[in-house]
C-alpha cells in the first residue's frame, strides 16, 4: 500500500472515531460522570430511595407483562407470515411496522382518547371502577404499543431465511403441528427470539414519551424509571437523576453485550439482525 493510501486510511479512521467519540461516547460518559459526581454513597442512596425503588419495581413489572405478550404475538405473526403464503402479506407487515413510525406522544394519546374519562370507554370504566389510564394497565398498553413490532420483526426475516423445508419434512414424517413447532422451529429460532426479546425489553424499560402521557406521575405509584429520572431532574437533584439514568444506560450496555455474544454464537443471526434492527429502532 502506498504511503498516501496509508495516510488517508489513518485520516478516515481518525475522523470516524472522533465523530463517534464526540457524538456517542461523550453523552454516555457524562451520564456516569454526573451520577458519581458526589461519590458512591450518594449514588447508592439515590437508588435505594423508596420512590426510586418503586419506580424500578414498576418498570420491571411493566416489562414483565409487555414483553411476554409481544413475544407470543411475534411468534404467531412470524409463523403466519414466514411459513404461509397469503394475499395482503406485505400490507400486514407494514401495519405491524406502524408503531415504529408513530411519535411516542401520539402513542400515549390514543389510549387517553380510548380509555380516558371522556374517551370511548371512559364512562363504562368509571362505573365499573376499572382504571386503565393513569394506572399500571395504561402504562403497560403504551409500552406494548411502542415495543409492538420488535419480536415479530426479528423472527420474520430469520424464519424466511431458514425456509420451511425442515418443518415440512418433519410433518411428512408424521410429527404433529405442535411437535414441529416445539422440536424444529423453536430450536432454530431461539437465539433470534432471545435477541428480539432483549431489544424489546430494553425499549420497554426505557420508554419515556408515550408512558409520560398515560402515567399521571403519582409518586411511588405510577412513575417508571425514565419518568423518575425526569422528576429527580426537576427536583434540583441532577445527581440522583443521573444515578437512575445510569441504571438504564447500564441496561443498554448489557443489551449490546448480550447481542454481541449471541452473534458470536450464531453467525447466521448477524445477517438477519443487522439490517432488521434498523427497522426495529425506527420507533421514535
Amino acid at each position: 500500500m502506498s504511503r498516501v493510501a496509508h495516510g488517508s486510511r489513518r485520516l478516515l479512521i481518525g475522523v470516524a472515531l472522533l465523530y463517534l467519540a464526540v457524538f456517542l461516547l461523550l453523552p454516555f460518559a457524562i451520564v456516569f460522570g454526573e451520577a458519581f459526581a458526589h461519590g458512591v454513597a450518594t449514588y447508592v442512596a439515590a437508588l435505594t430511595d423508596p420512590a426510586a425503588r418503586s419506580a424500578i419495581v414498576l418498570t420491571l413489572t411493566v416489562a414483565a407483562i409487555a414483553v411476554p405478550l409481544n413475544l407470543v404475538f411475534g411468534v404467531a405473526a412470524a409463523w403466519a407470515i414466514a411459513r404461509h403464503d397469503f394475499r395482503g402479506k406485505s400490507a400486514l407487515v407494514t401495519l405491524i411496522d406502524l408503531p415504529f413510525a408513530v411519535s411516542p406522544v401520539i402513542s400515549g394519546l390514543i389510549y387517553v382518547l380510548v380509555f380516558g374519562a371522556n374517551g370511548w370507554f371512559g364512562s363504562w370504566l368509571a362505573e365499573h371502577d376499572v382504571r386503565v389510564i393513569f394506572a399500571v394497565p395504561g402504562i403497560v398498553l403504551a409500552t406494548i404499543f411502542v415495543t409492538f413490532p420488535f419480536v415479530a420483526r426479528e423472527l420474520i426475516p430469520l424464519m424466511q431465511l431458514q425456509g420451511r423445508d425442515e418443518e415440512e419434512t418433519a410433518l411428512s414424517l408424521g410429527a404433529s403441528g405442535w411437535q414441529v413447532f416445539r422440536r424444529v422451529t423453536l430450536p432454530n429460532i431461539r437465539w433470534g427470539l432471545l435477541y428480539g426479546v432483549l431489544l424489546c425489553n430494553a425499549r420497554a424499560m426505557g420508554e419515556f414519551g408515550a408512558v409520560s402521557v398515560v402515567s399521571g406521575h403519582v409518586r411511588g405509584l405510577t412513575n417508571t424509571m425514565p419518568l423518575h429520572v425526569e422528576i429527580l431532574y426537576n427536583e434540583y437533584n441532577p445527581t440522583a437523576a443521573f444515578a437512575v439514568a445510569s441504571l438504564l444506560a447500564l441496561l443498554a450496555l448489557v443489551t449490546l453485550a448480550a447481542r454481541a455474544m449471541l452473534e458470536a454464537r450464531e453467525p447466521d443471526l448477524r445477517h438477519a439482525t443487522r439490517a432488521v434492527q434498523v427497522a426495529q429502532a425506527t420507533s421514535p
Partner: protein
C-alpha cells in the same frame, strides 16, 4: 441478501398450506394488531373528525403549526443528511480497515438504539450546555447549540446515527472487493472507484438509512424536549405542539396535528418498504 430485506413479495406460486396453524396464528396476529394498534389509532381520526374539514384545514395551516412541522421535518432532514455522510464514513472504516478495538466500536454504534431517550436528552443537554464540555468549546467559537434548532439537530444526529451505518455496512461487506481491485489495476483512481463502483452499490442502502433516520427524527420527543428552546415559530417541534394543544384542552386540534404527522410517517414507511424492495431487486442482480 434476502436476510437483509425484511419482507419480500413472494414469487407467484400456488398457495399450498402444508404447515398447520395458519388460521390460528394469522387470526391471533390480526386480533392483537387490531386491539393494540389499529383500533386505538382510529381514535385519532374520529377525534379529528369532530373538527370538520374547514377547522381542520384552519388548524393545520396556522403559522405556528406550519412552523413546527417545518422545523420537525427540517431538522430531521438535516440530521439525516449529516448522518448519511458520517454514517457512510463510519461504515466504510468499520468494514474496510482493521484497527484496535474495531469490534468494540462496532458494538457501540448501536448505543442510541438502546439508550432511553430521556436519558439521552438530559445527557445531551449537559454536554452542549454553555457550561458543558462541548458547549464551552463551541461557545468560545460563538456557536450556541442548546435551545436552538442546532440543538435539535444535535439530538437527532445522536438518535439517527446507527441507521445509516447499519444499512450500509452489510452492503459494503458483500461488495466484491475484487471488482474494486480490478478497476484499480485498470488504472482507475480511488475517487473513480468510489464514484463508479462503491457509491452505485451502496446508494439504495444509503437512501434507506437516510429515510429511516429521517422518519425517526420527525416524531422524536424525549431527547429533543430537553435541548430544544421550545420557542413558538423558532424552536418548537411538532410533538411538543401536540402536547401544548392538549394542555389547552384542544384535543381535536392536537389530534389534527397528529393526523398530519401520522399520514406523512406512514407514507415514509411505505416509501422505505418500496426502497427496500427496489434495492433487493438491484442487489440480487449484482451481489453473488
Amino acid at each position: 441478501m434476502a436476510a437483509v430485506l425484511p419482507v419480500a413479495t413472494f414469487p407467484a406460486r400456488t398457495p399450498r398450506r402444508v404447515l398447520p396453524g395458519f388460521g390460528l396464528s394469522l387470526g391471533y396476529t390480526i386480533l392483537y394488531l387490531s386491539l393494540i394498534v389499529l383500533i386505538p389509532l382510529v381514535a385519532i381520526f374520529t377525534k379529528t373528525a369532530e373538527l370538520g374539514w374547514d377547522r381542520f384545514v384552519h388548524v393545520i395551516s396556522s403559522p405556528r403549526v406550519v412552523a413546527a412541522l417545518a422545523l420537525s421535518f427540517g431538522t430531521a432532514g438535516v440530521a439525516a443528511l449529516f448522518n448519511a455522510f458520517a454514517g457512510l464514513l463510519v461504515a466504510w472504516v468499520l468494514t474496510r480497515y482493521d484497527f484496535p478495538a474495531r469490534r468494540l466500536v462496532d458494538a457501540l454504534v448501536d448505543l442510541p438504539f438502546a439508550l432511553p431517550t430521556a436519558v439521552a436528552g438530559i445527557a445531551l443537554t449537559a454536554v452542549y450546555a454553555p457550561n458543558g464540555p462541548l458547549g464551552r468549546l463551541l461557545g468560545a467559537l460563538g456557536i450556541t447549540v442548546v435551545y436552538t434548532p442546532l440543538g435539535i439537530v444535535a439530538a437527532l444526529v445522536f438518535i439517527g446515527l446507527p441507521f445509516v451505518v447499519r444499512m450500509v455496512q452489510p452492503v459494503l461487506e458483500e461488495l466484491d472487493r475484487e471488482v474494486e481491485e480490478a478497476a484499480r489495476t485498470l488504472g482507475a483512481g480511488p475517487r473513480q472507484v468510489f464514484a463508479r463502483i462503491v457509491l452505485p452499490a451502496v446508494w439504495p442502502a444509503l437512501l434507506t438509512g437516510f429515510a429511516l433516520a429521517f422518519a425517526r427524527g420527525i416524531g422524536e420527543y424525549g431527547s429533543v424536549i430537553f435541548i430544544a428552546g421550545n420557542m413558538p415559530m423558532r424552536s418548537e417541534i411538532a410533538p411538543l405542539l401536540i402536547v401544548t394543544k392538549l394542555e389547552q384542552y384542544e384535543y381535536a386540534s392536537a389530534t389534527a396535528i397528529a393526523v398530519v404527522m401520522l399520514v406523512i410517517s406512514f407514507v415514509l414507511l411505505l416509501a422505505i418498504n418500496a426502497l427496500q424492495a427496489w434495492s433487493q431487486r438491484r442487489l440480487s442482480g449484482t451481489a453473488r
